[in-house]
């Protein structure tokens, strides 16, 4: 495990992607190392989610190259890719008619052969991810009875059961209350440090991104406009360039890092 520490697990070079005539991503280049925790920030509609979906081949096409473990993504079958990369969608309103256990078990799909039934190691993998995310007690509940925060944990558990090295998360904390936001942040950091997963998380929460990540990327209008350490992004001029808006800062009482605070509401 330690040997692949600095391996580049995702390499993107000159990647552009359009939906219809609308150019979503323009000449994006980036590399993400194995076991890194990277947050992607940027305004709404900048192309962050599209980038995640292109990495996981949910969207195919585009020009330029995306390589996973040194191999172009288009050369992977969807099944092979699923063993390396997993996408965790937003815990928005969508409802699934399954129990938590059934849903997490579906994460085992890439490891099951078409004719085999579920084996003990699949059960073990599911139970391990349920306990790692702290949702064992919901195992038999139906997904539609859970709150968004609980559902987000189930989505992460399913991605863990998939045993992919990379988790691509689409706004994992956006619809959650403060308690669940904190729980999800801690969970992701724990998965990153203890299980050695590479985390790529799209988020609107700049403070959390700065506190949790190793590195931050910012996308604006389809291009990468910033890449650097968390403390480098927490500067008025940098953030203003990304969001076209002025920011107020204060010191975090525990870490001493700069954090963003909301301004007074104008009448």
């Amino acid at each position: 495990m330690v040997t692949d520490l600095d391996e580049n697990i995702i390499e993107i070079e000159g990647f552009s992607f359009a939906i219809g005539t609308k150019q979503i991503l323009k000449d994006v280049s980036l590399t993400i190392r194995s076991r890194e925790y990277v947050s992607i920030i940027g305004p709404n509609g900048a192309g962050k989610t599209t980038l995640l979906k292109c990495i996981d081949k949910i969207y195919s096409g585009g020009t330029g190259t995306i390589k996973i473990k040194g191999r172009p993504v288009e050369n992977y079958s969807q099944l092979e890719l699923a063993k390396i990369v997993s996408y965790v969608p937003q815990a928005d309103g969508r409802q699934f008619p399954f129990t938590v256990h059934e849903f997490v078990m579906m994460g085992r799909y890439p490891h099951l052969s078409p004719f085999s039934s579920i084996r003990q190691e699949d059960e073990d993998a599911v139970n391990a991810s349920l306990s790692k995310t702290g949702i064992e007690e919901f195992a038999d509940r139906h997904l539609w009875t859970l709150s968004s925060g609980e559902r987000q944990k189930v989505f992460i558990a399913a991605a863990l059961a998939q045993e992919a090295a990379v988790l691509l998360l689409d706004e994992p904390t956006t619809f959650l209350d403060y308690k669940h936001q904190a729980e999800i942040q801690n969970l992701l950091r724990r998965i990153n440090l203890q299980s050695g997963k590479t985390i790529v998380s799209v988020t609107h929460d700049i403070n959390c991104a700065a506190l949790a990540s190793d590195r931050i990327l910012a996308i604006k209008e389809g291009s990468i406009v910033f890449r650097g350490k968390p403390k480098e992004v927490m500067r008025g001029d940098v953030l203003e360039k990304i969001y076209d808006k002025k920011f107020l800062f204060t010191k975090h009482p525990q870490t001493g890092l700069d954090i963003v605070v909301p301004e007074e509401v104008e009448a």
């Binding site: 996981d56 081949k57 949910i58 890719l81 699923a82 409802q95 579906m106």
Partner: protein, 335 residues
């Protein structure tokens, strides 16, 4: 294992339906008429040559239509998606009607590897309809119920007008035949009829049963399914093929029987849940049984005359559809 018990009960009920319904009808037949002391030649002939093939055809048709409905509902992520509501049945009907006219007008009935031309045409009609509906639904992003039903209605209307045109250019006898057949009917002539439906039902359901895991994942959405490793496009093509086979095969022989594809999967979901591993088996058994019983009603209610079985399923299924439509919006939406 509650689900296992339910499946066994369904299996027993299905076998009972297959054994008992052939004895019911204008001519009452009991076991003693067939074997042993009270043997009667006529009753035995009615039983073996008419009733049994008819029951088998009804069961196969019901099972195939119900499984098609189940597969479409998972793909469109909507409980109202059925061969009937999406216009797939209309497409198949148009194909079959075209063949009736062409074959009679030109005197060129043909068969492909022993499969009648009518079934082949109905299959092609289903394929066209399903591709049209899917394309229309995709054109506006997202699978809202409204978009899907509108696309289905549009495709249905389109093919219905084409069928009207076919009827217009055909003579009186043909036209009557088409109308009668459009009502959904088991015009069974011995085991040959069963064999006309069987390969389509078998082929289609084999594909569906191989793809139960993929159907579960499609229920959670194309994106999540892709991320879990499902080759979404390939799987959908295979399911379209399976549905077209089953709907085409059934419609060519029995006409467009509606609502089986909605009633059966939905009742089965209430019984065994949404996991297609159990749902597919339950749907097959229940769909077969449901249509067998509907057909028994159709041929006994006003005996010696018969009600087209499509009328019975529509009378039962119509209100069910409305109930689903009203209920679906308030509850947990999908499937």
């Amino acid at each position: 294992m509650r689900k296992g018990v339910i499946l066994v009960v369904l299996l027993v009920l299905a076998i009972l339906a297959l054994v008992i319904t052939p004895m019911i009808g204008m001519t009452k037949i009991s076991v003693t008429h067939l074997f042993g002391s009270g043997f009667e030649e006529t009753k035995s002939t009615i039983f073996w040559d008419i009733r049994i093939p008819r029951t088998c055809t009804a069961f196969l048709a019901g099972a195939a239509l119900a499984l098609s409905g189940m597969a479409l509902q998972a793909m469109f992520r909507n409980p109202l998606a059925t061969p009937f509501t999406l216009g797939v049945s209309s497409g198949a009907s148009f194909g079959a009607a075209m063949y009736m006219i062409i074959a009679v007008k030109s005197g060129m009935a043909f068969a492909l590897l022993g499969i009648s031309g009518q079934s082949v045409f109905a299959f092609l009609g289903s394929v066209i309809a399903i591709v049209l509906v899917y394309g229309l639904t995709r054109a506006k992003r997202g699978f809202s119920t409204a978009t899907m039903l509108l696309a289905g209605v549009a495709v249905s209307f389109f093919f219905s007008s084409l069928i009207l045109f076919v009827q217009y250019i055909s003579d009186f006898a043909q036209s009557y035949r088409i109308i009668r057949w459009l009502m959904g009917d088991f015009d069974v002539t011995g085991f040959r009829t069963v064999l006309r439906v069987f390969p389509f039902a078998l082929g289609g359901s084999a594909i569906v049963f191989l793809l139960t895991r993929e159907l579960n994942l499609l229920t959670t959405g194309d994106e999540l399914a892709a991320s879990r490793g499902v080759a979404v496009k390939t799987v959908k093509k295979m399911l379209f093929l399976a549905t077209s086979l089953m709907v085409g095969g059934v419609v060519a022989v029995c006409g467009p029987i509606g609502f089986v594809g909605m009633v059966a999967p939905h009742i089965c979901r209430l019984m065994v849940g949404h996991d297609h591993k159990y749902l597919a088996t339950a749907t097959l058994l229940f769909g077969g049984m449901f249509l067998t019983l509907c057909d028994t009603l159709a041929r006994t209610l006003i005996a010696p005359a018969e009600i087209p079985v499509g009328v019975i399923t529509a009378l039962l299924g119509g209100p069910f559809f409305v109930w689903l439509l009203i209920r679906g919006s308030s509850e947990r939406g999908l499937v």
